[in-house]
Amino acid sequence: MYTEKVMDHFSNPRNVGEIENASGVGEVGNASCGDIMRISLQVEDDVIQDVKFKTFGCGAAIATSSMVTELAIGKTIDEALILTNQAVAEALDGLPAAKMHCSNLAADALHEAIKNYKEQNH
């Protein structure tokens, strides 16, 4: 069902947790769909220094969350804003069709967190 990369990120998720005194926090998803993703950021000079996630959801939800944290760290917030859910799925060598919609929201959560950071800082 899942690619090796998905299984790797799912079974050894990177950057799990919540950043205390985060620069920004974003959450997307809802319990009906079975996926909730929460991303917290630490941003310095508009560069993402650290990202952590917490996710309630299926294997795809956890793996995309983990992957998005890896992709985001070190990027400027503008670079991170053009990161798409599709790109996250591709970085994982793809997701099953049924998972593309609801479980592939990690980039959205990242964008929400950046938005939240911007609201607080600009």
Partner: protein, 407 residues
């Protein structure tokens, strides 16, 4: 890695004695039982033997057994065949909100054709109110369809009492006995059932074969049109090896029922007690009285965790179980059974079913009880819902739309 299979309500391994009985019917005794010649005649007896074995498990006459391709076909046939045959009498069907999709979707399809369907509610334990069932009967009611046991919770419904009500009001009574047959006594005569459906692959027979008990004299329209097989009741060349396998599996299930019940129940009870006592914030789904559930089924919700990820963590250490969460079933909503029982949506997503078989061992239970707490804790630590301060975001209009597109 040792593999521990605890998903026997989804499907079972074929029992060795079943496969052995089937083997001669692929390449050697391969005839079509409808044929006059040696190749046909040498298999006809095998089918009738299997029919007798199925009949014995259900306590009916051999002539009341019809062989089919699966449990879903049985449910489709029983319900559509009754609707078509009795539509002159009435257009009302009573079923429950917790039936298998083979019943629910069939009823929904009939609604489009002008039938009215009452979906009886269940309480938080997943049980029916029989007074409500009785009150739902009108002079237009042509069918009551209530499963013998529920596949997700293992709840056993009071089929004998429903049979009495059906008899009192002279309404035909169908039961999906796919999960009950072979695990607990299923006596169709005693329960006054008119139609009962079973499926091979849930009781150690192969996939692709099922059977229906159809009480003698019950008028039903065909579902599978075509040849004259099964006394004109089900067209299609007989699946001879599958039927032989189903027969042997039924015989074996009957023979071992008491022993297996006690053995499996003991393991399940140990697992149940162990989980409930060692992990906090766990909810049992189904009736708290274990006598009212199948001996092999345990359904629990681990709060804050989505079911599929739990299953995948289980899978990494070799444990096969199943989940009532949306993501695992192809649709995007969590189990309709959990929904009907009023289980909170997060708990519904975290519902996990262990369904045991007589191949499971006490060591396996011990292993699960040893590994489970850490897995649950690890996923909880990962969950934004665990120790959350704000409210849980609940609904999503977008996704509902997708769900509809899928259904």
């Amino acid at each position: 890695m040792k593999k521990i299979y605890m998903d026997n309500n989804a499907t079972t391994a074929v029992k060795p004695e079943v496969l052995e009985a089937m083997l001669p019917y692929f390449c050697e005794q391969f005839g079509n039982p409808s044929s006059v010649h040696w190749a046909g005649q040498m298999v006809g007896g095998a089918i009738e033997k299997a029919r007798g074995q199925v009949a014995k498990l259900l306590n009916c006459a051999s002539a009341e057994v019809i062989f089919l391709s699966c449990g879903s076909e049985g449910d489709n046939y029983a319900i559509k065949g009754t609707a078509e045959a009795l539509k002159g009498k009435g257009n009302h069907i009573i079923t429950t909100a917790v039936e298998h999709p083979a019943v629910l979707e069939t009823c929904e399809a009939l609604e489009k054709d002008g039938f009215a369907v009452t979906y009886l509610k269940v309480d938080q334990d997943g049980m029916l109110d029989l007074a409500e069932l009785e009150a739902a009967i009108t002079d237009k009611t042509i069918l009551i369809s209530v499963m013998w046991a529920n596949n997700e919770t293992g709840n056993i419904f009071p089929i004998e009492k429903i049979g009495e009500i059906a008899k009192k009001y002279k309404v035909r009574f169908h039961t999906d006995a796919v999960q009950a047959a072979g695990k607990i006594p299923v006596d169709v005569r005693k329960a006054n059932v008119d139609m009962a459906v079973i499926s091979g692959h849930k009781i150690g027979a192969p996939k692709g074969v099922g059977a229906m008990y159809l009480r003698r004299g019950t008028r039903i329209s065909r579902f599978m049109h075509g040849g004259h097989q099964e006394r004109n009741r089900r067209a299609g060349t007989h699946n001879v090896p599958g039927i032989v396998g189903l027969g042997v599996a039924c015989e074996s299930a009957l023979q071992n029922m008491e022993k297996d019940y006690a053995y499996v129940r003991n393991l399940r009870d140990k697992l149940e007690k162990g989980i409930l006592s060692s992990i906090p914030e766990v909810k049992l789904n189904g009736h708290p009285d274990a006598d009212l559930r199948l001996p092999n089924t345990l359904n629990v919700s681990f709060d804050y965790i989505e079911g599929e990820s739990l299953l995948l963590f289980f899978d990494m250490i070799g444990i096969a179980a199943s989940s009532g969460s949306a993501c695992t079933s192809g649709s995007l909503e969590p189990s309709h059974v959990m929904g009907a029982m009023g289980v909170d949506i997060v708990l519904a997503h975290s519902s996990t079913r262990f369904s045991l078989g007589s191949d499971n061992t006490e060591e396996e239970i011990d292993f699960i009880l040893q590994e489970l707490p850490a897995i649950v804790q690890r996923l909880r630590e990962m969950s934004p819902l665990y120790k959350r301060e704000g409210p849980t975001p609940l609904s999503c209009d977008d996704c509902r739309m997708v769900h509809r597109a899928y259904a």
